[in-house]
């Protein structure tokens, strides 16, 4: 009985509740990622919050709930987010690498505010929220992939 349960996960109630509770977790994680330039948090802690869903689903669904396509999708997502992060840093090469070229230009995420204590105005700070979002996606993909691969083995690269 125990062997059957370890591979097929827990009961139907747990599986349904895990879907229901995934939604507030994702919303909270996205809130932490998006407001990284105003409140504590940012890309890495927000991504780590959403990555706990990997552990949740692993416990609820067991080994047979993890498919190869999940792991390949996470690997691709992580690579794309990382490459976009570095390309965004390259875009500032008009002045220097990593230059915040988006700030104070008046577009979305580019409005200006003055120095000092304020009540938190979201569309400011230029490339910082964009990089926060990319880092958040990368961290959630990487940490979920670590959890899944540690449990189930390789990411299907016997053929490279």
């Amino acid at each position: 009985m125990i062997e059957k349960n370890k591979n097929r996960g827990m009961s139907r109630i747990v599986k349904t509740i895990s879907f229901i509770i995934a939604l507030p977790i994702i919303v909270f994680g996205l809130y932490v990622i998006l407001h990284g330039h105003l409140t504590p948090g940012g890309g890495f802690p927000g991504g780590a919050i959403i990555a706990t869903l990997a552990a949740l689903f692993l416990v609820a669904f067991g080994r047979s709930g993890v498919k190869e396509s999940h792991k390949e999708f996470l690997s691709l997502l992580e690579s794309l987010a990382l490459v976009s992060f570095i390309l965004l840093a390259f875009l500032g090469l008009g002045s220097t690498f990593f230059r915040n070229f988006w700030a104070n230009t008046g577009n979305i995420f580019g409005k200006s505010i003055s120095y000092g204590a304020n009540s938190g105005y979201l569309p400011t700070a230029g490339t910082i929220p964009l990089m926060n979002m990319l880092v958040g996606i990368e961290v959630l993909a990487a940490l979920s992939l670590i959890a899944l691969v540690m449990y189930t083995g390789q990411v299907g690269d016997e053929n490279d």
Binding site: S79, I86, F97, F98, N100, D157
Partner: protein
Amino acid sequence: MNLLLHAPILAISIPLLGGLATPIITKFGKRVRDSWIILSLLFTEFLVLILTHDILSNGIRTYTLGAKFPTDTIPIANFIPVRIVLELDAFSVFMAITSVTIALIASIYSLKFIKEGTAKSKYYTLLLLLTAAMVGLVFTGDLFSMFVFLEILSISSGVLVAFYSHKGEALEAAFKYIVISAVGALMILLAIGLLYGHYNLLNIAALANVLKFSFSDKVALVLLIAAFAMKCGAVPLHMWVPDAYGEAPAPISAVLVVASQAGLYALFRISFTLFSALPTIEIVAWSVIILGVLSMFIGVIMAISQKNIKRLMAYHAISQTGYMLLGIGVGLAVIGNINALNSFGITAMEGGIFHIINHAIYKGLLFLTAGAIIYRVGTKDLNKMGGLAHKMPFTTIFFLIGALAITGLPPFNGFASKLMIYESVFRFSPLLSIIAMMVSILTLASFVKVFYSAFMGPKLKEHNEIREVPKTMLIAMLVLALLTLLVGLFPDIVVDNIISPAAHALVDQSKYIGGVL
């Protein structure tokens, strides 16, 4: 866009981008991925070469990440430098050339050495990340990014050491390596915290300007020297070296040599640029010299009795690191005394620095030939090899060149740097020079043993199907052998144009500070 202006950061970020984009590029096919890797490394090599040419003619170059223009190190007048500042002087570009060249040759070698179907694209990603970390470590101008690049280097080389994960020994070696590296790096962070807490500065040049050598600064110096000596494999913190070099794939052993020497770069940068005005610098210098002599001696003694060809070469790497520590330690000991410095101190430092690039070249060549033997014969045990000279003539010649270079025989490059070290150390203290020469003789003895048992003798009947190794591997070894010969035949060109500016840049602390402030 002015390529030379942005070249410092491009030399770090192009390998980074290339390595991280490799899993996506692999979906287009294997030849596309191979050419992408080689193109990224060739472009990095080109950038480092034009930077070398510029630094040797025009002096120190800085680059501030995220400022309005690259040399904007102090945005508010007469304040402290803010933002991450890359500062390149002659010693930095010298180490960068060594690292990128060996990485390029190792990746050409691994085109055929690493068999397909063993996670080869992840191997290339890690190799490019390792290159970016090595170049970043030597280009950076502040302490904390040095720590971050050191950690990237440790983790990516740790994963590469554990590449053959179907054998248990590689995993043990990687575990030992990563535990020791992690402890060392955390001690470095503790020392950086001590320095930051006292002065509120992380930039090396700004810190060198205001350092006052109180007790906590001396504690930080001891922690930093111990941790970086661990990173380059000096005795008594050398336990990870034979395991890691012996169990890694052969091209990775060649790159690990240069990665350990990045730790040597950081050691010298800290002791010369930050602490050279310390009143008790003699004690620090003598401890570096004693570490060097112990490494030389213990490395070669343990190497004589090894049966595994790569472990033997790894112990020799420890012993040769001792030569570098000895040479530069002598330079550090006489840094307060202008007469001694000009007569033999600078020559000792030039010998030590020259030995860095020579060691990278001939040790890389030796590891690649050992890899060639393992690729065809399938075993690392010297007792099971024999008579390979009949079947693998090119590999034999390359091994012979490497073995003669490491023992310091003319006309190969080991002779030039070892002669500079012997002469200058003799004027400092004759006993150390005699120990260095004896270690050289013992090195010759152990390599005669290896050459005889692996290549000479009659053909063994189980080696009947062995042919020569594939052409890309031969081309990689040929480039290194030609470099050995050329640098050995024309050492004064190399020393006058590259090594001597590097040694003078290390000694001249005020020029380094003037680059940023």
